[in-house]
Structures are given as structure tokens and as C-alpha cells.
Amino acid sequence: MTRKEQNDQFTAWIRDHAGILHKVARAYSFQPAEQEDLLQEIYLAVWHSIPGYKAGSKVSSYLYRIALNRAISWVRRESAYRRKLDQFQSAPGASAPDSRLEFLYAEIRQLTKTERALILMQLDGFSYEEIGLILGLSTSNVGARLTRIRQKLATNLKEKTP
């Protein structure tokens, strides 16, 4: 694959599937600056994965796999992050435009990294088999974990809504 072909493919994928990458970045980072950092890392991973894409397989599934793997393996230094988090949370205008969406993301961020990956893919309509292939889990394992995640989310939401 030539550099130009790789460029064109990258541009087309970002144009058509940017939502997936933004969704994953938002679920795996807490602050807008961190989301930008993670998104850049995901873009870089997508770029390097273009030659490995097999024509015929779903692009959305492929991009989800790359984005989730990058996000799951992304580790920030806790002490520096915590200081910045405290500073940012006190700043005015820190809330997202859609408060319901931000509320949902805030709940998703309370889950573990693997749980976030599972619930994000389920919300996007992936089957248990597809989720299992992406994460390297069996279909039954995926089903059992998703049941537990849904119960956890339902309990949390019930406690927080009047």
C-alpha cells in the first residue's frame, strides 16, 4: 500500500467513523484535554493499522477494536492527573452541552476498563459474538458480564435519580 493510499483510506475512515473514536475516547478519559490526548493516540493507532485491514470485514468493527485496545492500554500518571482533575472540576462551564449524555458517560466511566468496552459495544449494536471476537472472550462470558454490568448501571441510576 502506498503512502497516498494509506492517507486516503485514513481520511475516509475518520470522516465516516469519527463518532466511534470520539465515543471511546470520551468513555476512557475524564477531562477534555485528556480526551484530546487519547484521541490523538487512537488516530495514530488507526493510521498504523490500515495496512493490516482485510477488505470485506466491517470497518466499524475494526476501528472499534483498535480504539478500545488503545484506550484500554492507555495509562495516565495518577498523581499528576488527580491534581489537574481537582483544579478542573472547580472551573466554571465545565459541564457538557447535553447533560443527559454527560450523565451517561459519567456512569460508564465508573465501570472498569473491560466493562466500559463491553457496554459501549453493546450500546452500538454489536452482537455478543462480535464483542467476544474483539475482546478475545467467549460468547457466554460476554453475555454473563453484560448482564452484571446492566444490573450495576441500573442500581447506580436508581440510587441517583429521585
Binding site: R65, N69, I72, S73, R77, T112, T147
Partner: protein, 172 residues
């Protein structure tokens, strides 16, 4: 990428050739003994080893970037393997290499003393090398504690989570 590897390969070749010429000269030229060529050879050898290590890092980084298209389990395995390799390098290989450099320095001073030259300002050179070795070791230990180990522990925690260690028996 190819350009970067070619540059590193050229640096490696240059360093290796330079080191080989220094060894040949030390063997052939009576005036160019191990004692008075130690610092030159140590710097060249350290440079060659650093470039080799740099090449390993670049190739590993490329492999990791290409690996994100695999399933999450395989991806994590590769990242954890790389980080464990880092830990092993810093905890075992680096002290051996730096200790070896210091030992060669001591041997070079001993050669001078046994040759009847006695104590001279060449010891200042060895002290500088010692300070440099300590600084390099301290830098890598800091990197191990602050960057490498926390990342390794975090990724191992995610792998355990993926393996279902946190699942209760009635969930399966």
C-alpha cells in the same frame, strides 16, 4: 520508519567500526594502551549499546502500534511482555553493563599502577565516569518506578479483569 531504521543502522555500523579500530590500535600500538584509551573505548561501546537498545525500542513500538488491530487479550499480552522486558533490562542488564564499565576503568588504572606510572590525574577521569554511571542508573531507576512499573501493574490489572478473576462463580 524505514529512514529511521536506516539512520540507526548507520549509527550502529559507525560505532562498531570505531570501536573495532580502537581495539586494533590498542593491540598494535604500544603507546595506545588500554589504560589511556579506556575512556574513548568505553564511550564508543556505550554508544553502540544505546543505539542497539534504541533499535529494539523502535521495532517494539512499531510492533505494538500494529498490534492494536488484534483482539484485546493478545494486545495486552504483547504490551505486558514489552514492559516486563523493560523491567528486566533496568533491574539486571543495566547494572551489569554499568558495573562492567566501572570495572574496566578500575582495571585500566591498575594497568598504569603496575606499569610503574603510579597515581595520576587519570583517577579524576575514572571518578567522572563513576558519577556518570550513577546518574544514568538513577535516571533509569526513576523511570522504572514512576513510568514502567505503574503502567505494567495497570495493564496486568486489566488483563486479570479480562480473564474474569473478578467474576463471581454464579455469573458464569
Amino acid at each position: 520508519m524505514i529512514g529511521g531504521i536506516l539512520v540507526l543502522a548507520a549509527m550502529l555500523l559507525t560505532g562498531t567500526l570505531t570501536f573495532w579500530q580502537q581495539v586494533e590500535r590498542a593491540l598494535a600500538d604500544n603507546a595506545y594502551t588500554f589504560a589511556n584509551s579506556y575512556l574513548d573505548m568505553a564511550v564508543t561501546l556505550a554508544g553502540v549499546l544505546m543505539v542497539l537498545r534504541g533499535l529494539v525500542y523502535v521495532l517494539r513500538m512499531q510492533r505494538e502500534l500494529r498490534n492494536f488491530k488484534d483482539d484485546t487479550w493478545s494486545c495486552l499480552e504483547l504490551l505486558i511482555h514489552g514492559l516486563r522486558d523493560d523491567v528486566r533490562s533496568i533491574r539486571r542488564h543495566l547494572p551489569i553493563m554499568l558495573g562492567g564499565l566501572l570495572l574496566l576503568g578500575l582495571l585500566s588504572r591498575l594497568q598504569l599502577i603496575l606499569g610503574g606510572v603510579g597515581f595520576n590525574d587519570g583517577w579524576a577521569e575514572l571518578i567522572l565516569v563513576g558519577i556518570g554511571v550513577l546518574m544514568v542508573y538513577a535516571f533509569f531507576r526513576y523511570r522504572l518506578q514512576v513510568h514502567v512499573r505503574p503502567r505494567l501493574e495497570a495493564l496486568e490489572a486489566v488483563r486479570r479483569e479480562l480473564a474474569g478473576d473478578s467474576l463471581k462463580p454464579d455469573d458464569l
